[in-house]
């Protein structure tokens, strides 16, 4: 007989939040939809519930009940990460695990567990223990039908007094009839119906799954929509002993597309390493093609025989499956990599992107355009000198000279917009003007201090213009400077400043 388990990690977002902030556990705490007073409270811990805070309230309303209420958001990616961790953990308890669309809920095949464990109760305990190591609390129901064990798990989650309580954390049904009785008597809240629908059914006096099942299916659809009807049918399955339910659709652990070649004799010769990498690349490209995807980035790992592995990211100019091009980039990178010892193994894995028609066309018809060549050269530069080899200055919205720009890595060649640096387009037929300011200020990488001597004598200044004052940033550390332009005897224009706090002089740059 098919045995099925439903594992529910209730209030997953709250559990993740309290794992992130364990110091919040004794205090009223809540997950909110956004970090603002208007954010909706999504879930609360028992302390908050004691203070009268409940999901659906605005954070501001919760605060009015207890000024101690701690709250934060839990981003979707954090929840997804939590789901993946739980999934991996459950896959150690059963090879067949199906995550539900409801985050924190899983179907687990328990059919083969009977001969492996003295009892299913002990198997459930193992699941609890495993999830406990992840810092998670769950309820588990083992039954015969999807809805039966779902309803039982949800009922336990609804009635569980507090996270951490050991009672009512697991239930194993011995007969389908026992499961059916439990499911029919379960509160309607176990169904993932929209709160507004639950409210309307509550008004009609429909409070249990059994009462819900007494409503005509067509009437449910007409009044509450297709999703409610789907749940109605889903719940009806328990009456049929689960016969009409979908079989389990387990998720298999993702196989990482990583290919490794062990070198027969550890070596640091580029040629040998390239050869090994080429073998990995062939396999990788094969797998890539099978996925109908393109390689966006490669990770090359060189396992040094007696040392730490060297890991390198290589980025082609555009997503590609071009073996020759990729191999050339690998060769360039290997040429420039300094190894601390002979390499015992070479691994290659990739990051993918979905193949588009345009990309396929690019792949088939190699463009000879200058832009593609430039991109290729750019990629080669980065392959040879590293990914931070090419940088550009970006203007920042700041008054302080040293904060008014920053360097950033250039990862792609910028698009040629055909515009001049000031954003305008050149006149038709006109040659591109080179608008150079009459004077260029060369800013030193860091200002140079001047000795505390009379300035004019130290620098031999003939004239000094200023001061131009710059002050502010008082909320962190206050800056107050007097800037001057000074001309020395040789006619060189210096850009100087005096720090008003330290009373010291600095040369910030030169005017050419």
């Amino acid at each position: 007989m098919v045995r099925l388990a439903c594992v529910d990690v209730p209030e997953l977002a709250l559990q993740l939040l309290l794992n992130r902030h364990p110091e919040w556990r004794p205090h009223p705490s809540a997950v909110v939809s956004k970090d603002s007073p208007g954010g909706t409270i999504l879930s609360v811990n028992p302390r908050a519930r004691e203070e009268g805070v409940s999901p659906g309230m605005r954070y501001a309303a919760g605060l009015s009940l207890t000024p101690e209420l701690r709250a934060a958001t839990v981003p979707a990616r954090e929840i997804e990460g939590g789901v993946q961790r739980i999934l991996r953990r459950l896959q150690t308890a059963s090879p067949q695990v199906e995550p539900c669309s409801e985050a924190g809920l899983f179907w687990v095949d328990a059919t083969g567990m009977v001969p492996l464990y003295p009892s299913l109760e002990q198997w459930v305990e193992r699941i609890h223990a495993g999830l406990g190591r992840e810092g998670m609390y769950a309820v588990v129901a083992v039954g015969f039908s999807r809805f039966g064990c779902y309803a039982a798990a949800k009922s336990m989650a609804l009635t569980a007094a507090a996270p951490g309580a050991h009672e009512a954390r697991g239930q194993v049904f011995s007969t389908p009839e026992q499961e059916r009785r439990t499911a029919v008597g379960a509160p309607l809240g176990v169904l993932a119906l929209e709160p507004s629908i639950l409210e309307r059914l509550e008004l009609l006096g429909v409070r249990t799954v059994g009462e819900f099942l007494k409503l005509p299916s067509g009437g449910v659809r007409r009044r509450f929509g297709a999703e409610a009807e789907r749940l109605h049918r889903f719940a009806s399955g328990v009456l049929a002993g689960g016969a009409s339910e979908l079989p389990l659709q387990p998720e298999s652990p993702e196989q990482e597309a990583r290919f490794t070649v062990q070198l027969p004799v550890p070596s640091s010769e580029t040629l040998r390493l390239v050869h090994a990498a080429a073998r990995c690349l062939d396999s990788l490209l094969q797998a890539t093609e099978a996925r109908q995807e393109m390689l966006r980035e490669l990770r090359l790992v060189l396992q040094v025989e007696e040392g730490q592995a060297v890991s390198q990211a290589i980025t082609p100019a555009a997503p590609t499956r071009d073996r020759r091009l990729i191999l050339e980039l690998i060769t360039l990178r290997l040429d420039s990599t300094r190894l601390t010892g002979p390499v015992a193994a070479v691994s290659l894995s990739g990051a993918y992107t979905r193949e588009s028609i345009a990309q396929r066309e690019l792949f088939v018809q190699r463009s000879a355009q200058a832009r593609a060549a430039a991109a290729q050269a750019f990629a080669r530069l980065r392959a040879v000198f590293g990914n931070d080899a090419v940088q550009r200055a970006c203007l920042e919205d700041e008054h302080l000279p040293e904060r008014s720009y920053r360097w950033e890595n250039l990862e792609h060649l910028p698009e040629d917009t055909g515009r001049l640096p000031d954003g305008s387009r050149p006149a038709p037929g006109a040659s591109r003007p080179r608008p150079l300011p009459p004077l260029v200020r060369r800013v030193f990488r860091s200002p140079q201090p001047l000795p505390e001597q009379p300035l004019r004598r130290t620098l031999g200044l003939r004239r000094l213009w200023g001061p131009y004052l710059l002050s502010g940033h008082w909320w962190e550390w206050e800056v107050s400077r007097e800037y001057y332009y000074g001309e020395d005897a040789a006619g060189v224009l210096l850009w100087l400043y005096r720090d008003r706090h330290t009373r010291r002089w600095w040369i910030a740059g030169r005017v050419e």
């Binding site: 203070e51 009268g52 501001a60 309307r200 009609l204 009437g219 007409r222 004239r463």
Partner: protein, 1068 residues
């Protein structure tokens, strides 16, 4: 300071200098000083004059004008005007015409722009250049030539310097352009604060305006702190030393020219001569003659053909003064508005100090006879004060808009505009805005803001009490800047009903802009500015109680053929005073609050004047001033009535020797301390300006020494001063209280004699007053009035009266009526739904009934075509019971029935329902609603229940726990230990009560008042705030019929089910 820039421009005398580009904090979120601070600083620096040139407005000019007049500083009136092309120009008014042009330009720019913005077209500036001096800025170079054309020699190029590195280049360009056009240069800095210590606050304001944090503000902040008001030597240093001479030519006159400009501007705000609109008058009469005629005619109506000599004398005195001060037009306008209301049947009544005037009484602007009540006319108008009177007119709130639109229509859009209300920073808004700028988490700020008092209080200690660590640098900054920003103007809103009316366009003497409400325009000055400028203001205020009265009188006319108004309500009815003494005053104007109800059985009002006192005594002024208990003791005979000096007897006699009204405080000052009427009025104004420290204190020595000199014992003199101090603006003038007492008496009379009409009208006038509809309905039911539930086949939109009892005709004859609740109380139902229901109802009545004899619900749904939500609300409210189905069945039937393609409504071509509901659809079985559930559904869908109180189904359960109902509890003995559970209908923490919370709990038998001391509240805060049904234990305090539970502990009652939710009304 400048290193080696060459000679400093000589060592001669420092030239005089006038700052021409100053922005105060009325350049919202840009300037960081109050206008007064700028003027005081200018005075301190020895500057002869100062120009206030706020951005696109004259919001702060009156504040500056008042201060400048006091200190003898010349104030130039100007504006920094934003142009549509992105440029800016500074304009200064030379003369009255220039000022009118300035106001006109700002108005034009504001009226065409969305709220908060102002964009003036350059051609408008050129067209209205007369009487104005223009200062061109570097960023408006393109328009310099055009400005030159229009302004001629009244144009200057402003070479602004702030020691910024990019200024020399810009100035060089400006100089070359100016030289080419022959425009002289003038020196100036953009002044944003009076002292450089405010620079940080200016940064904070910039961030608030830019909605960013300091960390992300970047170049939105000014690069340095050179925007303070500079002294002449500092200006000399700035203009003679700092710039490279090979780039800029010396211009020795550049500073002196500021003085030349100041001399060319002769305009001052005192030149604004305001003429009140005087329309065409009959028989070629002057406005004074016409006013006299109307007043005398009115006096005959009020007093009969033989006008009493005292009244005649007072009339003559008032009319003479009104004519002398040229206020006749103002009174005629008020009379016109009142006449309009009378023509339209809109109830209105003057309130406030206008009730001190017999002219107002005769013109029917007010309803209180000031001669009979011996009210002080000087409180209204005083020759010494030379200040326009202020008449506030209460209008029934549902019809106020009609009167406002009349005023617009009568005087024209350009001659009428509403007075502004300046929204200023208070503790909470300051913490929220400054905290955001400092990058503190919004959730934290919200928590802090909630813990701060709504008004008053000292920020730093409040933040400390809220648990903020003030050792943290950012928290320190929050306290520092939060404190500094308090009282800064934040933005403009609209005064509730203040109008400015003019004989000429209002925009000639103050800029006008759009209000948020469509169709409304607002001037840039608030009521204090209007008062300081001696302008006339008409206040048209909405009052729910007048609507209530109007509705009740209409019901009496309709159902009993009784034609009544306020004037015909029988006076001196003992039953009305009995009702008041019992504090049976739910819904009675002014004396219905918890505090008033607690006072009524002690004060025991037996005449109209007692009501006047009752209304006035439950006010923060008398409470804080310690007048309440002495008055009550003297009234009950427990304490002898004594006067500190025989001369004070006439002043205090009416109130048993205890000052209760504002007028008494003024008279006290006049009689005991020989204040002139003008001085007494100044005292009143200083009492009102309680936020401005020091204004009231300056009266202390004068009052005490003069009273002592008259033989009044120093202790009493000091006591009087302390009472004045406590009075603040929280005391009522006697005339105002008397006006309100008239309305209070009328509503109480209706409640006493026509409770059904009273309740029906009150429900229809709601929202108003102190109580929710559920409490109003409960109160009516306790009084034996039958209240019937909403029913789509019976109810109208509003509540209506129906003959009561089973013997309908007989009861109608007897004049007993029941109230049928109106559909307006069904939540989510809209008025257009009612129109559809009414049409459908007519159709149903015209057709044969359904199969079981009742009209068919399906037919109703088809005919009304109202949406599913509204139908469900009707089903939940039980309003569909006329179709023969219980609420759950009706709810199931209508759910999904009204999903119409295209959402057709009555009057549009019929369409088929997407999912038609057939009569033959199988109806599931639903459990019948229990009594408890029925009441719950009522509250859920209509906010009240006529079937019972939410606690009624729990009475047995509560009795088993030994908990009495309100009736039994209120009959308990003083000092008894009691426990009680009731529904919280009000939580109140008045600012005058030192943290004490007053709660009113309710059950089916009545109210229970609770007093929760601050420490008890803090301990049970969560329980009190989070439970709608609350249990309290404590000591019963029962004195003079006033019963309170002094709460010692609070708890959540043990109930088998949660009761229906009823919202409480909380006040802070």
């Amino acid at each position: 300071m400048a290193a080696g820039a060459g000679p400093t421009g000589g060592t001669g005398a420092v030239p005089a200098y006038v700052p021409l580009w100053c922005k105060s904090n009325y350049s919202f979120l840009e300037g960081a000083s109050h206008p007064e601070e700028l003027v005081r600083q200018a005075h301190g620096l020895g500057l002869p004059a100062l120009a206030l040139t706020d951005r696109d407005g004259l919001y702060g000019i009156v504040r500056a004008h008042v201060e400048a007049r006091k200190l003898g500083v010349k104030l130039l009136v100007g504006v920094q005007l934003s142009l549509e092309d992105g440029g800016r120009v500074i304009l200064l008014a030379q003369d009255r015409e220039g000022y009118a042009n300035l106001c006109g330009l700002v108005s034009a720019g504001r009226l065409r722009s969305p709220k908060g913005a102002c964009r003036v077209r350059p051609e408008e500036v050129l067209a209205r250049a007369a009487g104005l001096i223009a200062l061109g800025l570097p960023d408006s170079l393109d328009t310099l030539a055009a400005l030159r054309e229009a302004f001629g020699d009244r144009l200057y190029a402003l070479a602004a310097r702030h020691r910024q590195a990019d200024e020399p280049a810009r100035e060089a360009l400006l100089r070359s352009r100016a030289a080419a056009l022959g425009v002289p240069l003038v020196a100036g800095t953009e002044v944003l604060y009076h002292d450089s210590g405010r620079r940080r606050l200016q940064d904070v304001l910039t961030c608030i305006g830019g909605n960013c944090t300091l960390d992300r503000a970047g170049t939105r902040l000014r690069p340095n702190d050179q925007h303070e008001l500079k002294s002449p030597p500092e200006m000399l240093s700035l203009y003679r030393e700092s710039l490279p001479r090979d780039l800029l030519l010396e211009d020795p006159g550049v500073i002196e020219r500021t003085v030349e400009i100041a001399q060319r501007c002769s305009f001052g705000l005192e030149e604004i001569r305001y003429r009140y609109p005087s329309e065409e008058l009959p028989d070629g009469l002057s406005s004074a003659q016409w006013l006299r005629r109307l007043a005398l005619e009115g006096a005959e109506r009020r007093y009969g053909r033989e006008i009493p000599p005292g009244v005649r004398r007072q009339l003559d005195k008032e009319l003479e003064l009104i004519e002398e001060l040229d206020y006749c037009g103002y009174f005629l306008t008020m009379r016109e508005i009142v006449e309009f209301c009378q023509r339209r049947g809109i109830l209105c009544q003057g309130r406030g100090s206008a009730a001190n005037s017999v002219v107002c009484y005769c013109l029917e602007i007010t309803a209180v006879d000031p001669v009979r009540m011996q009210l002080l006319f000087e409180r209204f108008i005083s020759r010494e004060r030379d200040e326009p009177p202020d008449i506030d007119l209460d209008i029934e709130h549902r019809r106020r808009e009609e009167v406002i639109q009349y005023v617009y229509e009568r005087y024209g859009r350009d001659r009428a505009a509403m007075v502004a209300n300046m929204v200023r920073y208070r503790l909470r808004s300051a913490v929220r805005d400054v905290g955001k700028v400092l990058g503190l988490p919004v959730t934290t700020l919200n928590r802090l803001a909630r813990l701060l008092p709504a008004f008053g209080g000292e920020l730093e200690s409040s933040l400390r009490q809220a648990g903020l660590d003030l050792e943290s640098p950012r928290h320190k900054m929050l306290a520092e800047f939060g404190e500094q920003i308090l009282e800064f103007p934040r933005h403009l809103s609209i005064h509730p009903g203040g109008f400015l009316l003019g004989a000429e366009a209002v925009s000639r003497f103050v800029p006008v802009e759009n209000a948020t409400m469509p169709g409304r325009t607002v001037i840039q000055w608030d009521k204090y500015d209007v008062e300081d400028m001696h302008l006339f203001k008409v206040d048209l205020l909405g009052l729910g109680a007048l609507t209530h009265l109007d509705y009740a009188f209409r019901l009496l006319r309709e159902h009993r053929a009784l034609s009544m108004d306020m004037a015909s309500v029988p006076q001196g009815d003992p039953a009305v005073y009995d009702l008041a003494c019992r504090a049976d005053t739910v819904g009675v104007f002014q004396i219905e609050s918890r505090a008033q109800m607690a006072m009524l059985p002690r004060l025991k009002p037996r005449c109209f004047y007692d009501l006047v006192i009752e209304i006035s005594i439950v006010r923060p002024g008398p409470i804080v001033g310690g007048m309440v208990h002495p008055y009550l003791r003297r009234r009950s005979g427990a304490e002898p009535v004594e006067y500190p000096h025989p001369s004070l007897r006439p002043v205090l006699e009416k109130t048993l020797g205890v000052p209760i009204f504002q007028e008494q405080v003024m008279r006290l000052a006049m009689v005991a301390a020989d204040y002139t009427p003008g001085e007494a009025d100044q005292l009143r104004r200083d009492m009102a300006a309680w936020r401005s420290a020091g204004r009231i204190e300056r009266h202390r020595d004068k009052l005490v020494s003069r009273m002592t000199a008259k033989g009044i014992v120093p202790e009493f003199a000091e006591k009087v001063y302390q009472q004045i101090l406590g009075f603040g603006e929280y005391g009522f003038p006697e005339s105002h209280a008397a006006s309100f007492a008239l309305i209070a008496y009328s509503t109480a009379w209706l409640k006493c004699h026509y409770p059904a009409e009273f309740t029906c009208a009150l429900l229809n006038a709601w929202p108003m007053g102190f109580y929710t509809p559920s409490s109003i309905v409960e109160d009516a039911r306790r009084r034996g009035v039958e209240v019937r539930p909403v029913d789509v086949l019976e109810s109208a939109w509003e509540c209506t009266l129906q003959p009561a009892g089973p013997a309908v005709l007989a009861s109608a004859k007897r004049g007993v009526f029941a109230i049928r609740m109106g559909l307006r109380f069904v939540k989510s139902l809209e008025r257009k739904d009612w129109e559809a229901i009414r049409a459908a109802r007519e159709s149903i009545r015209m057709r044969p009934a359904g199969p079981n004899g009742s009209p068919s619900l399906q037919e109703f749904v088809r005919l009304t075509r109202i949406d599913e939500g509204s139908l469900a609300a009707l089903a939940e409210a039980g309003a569909l019971r006329g179709f023969g189905e219980e609420r759950r069945e009706a709810l199931w039937r209508v759910s999904g029935a009204a999903r119409w393609k295209g959402g057709g409504r009555a009057g549009t071509p019929p369409v088929q329902p997407e999912l038609p509901v057939g009569d033959d659809e199988l109806l599931p079985e639903f459990a019948a609603l229990s009594a408890f559930e029925s009441i719950g559904w009522d509250y859920l869908s209509t906010g009240h229940s006529v079937r019972g109180h939410p606690l009624e189904p729990f009475r047995e359960e509560l009795a088993r726990q030994g908990l009495p109902d309100a009736g039994a509890l209120n009959a308990g003995e003083d000092g008894a230990r009691v426990s009680y559970a009731g529904l919280v209908i009000c939580r109140q923490r008045p600012g005058t009560a030192g943290g004490v919370v007053f709660m009113t709990l309710e059950d089916e038998s009545g109210f229970v008042n609770c007093v929760v001391w601050a420490r008890v509240f803090e301990r049970y805060r969560t329980v009190i705030l989070s439970n709608t049904v609350l249990g309290v234990s404590g000591a019963l305090q029962s004195q003079d019929g006033v019963v309170h539970v002094v709460v010692e502990s609070c708890w959540k009652p043990r109930l088998s089910r949660p009761p229906a939710n009823k919202e409480s009304r909380d006040f802070h």
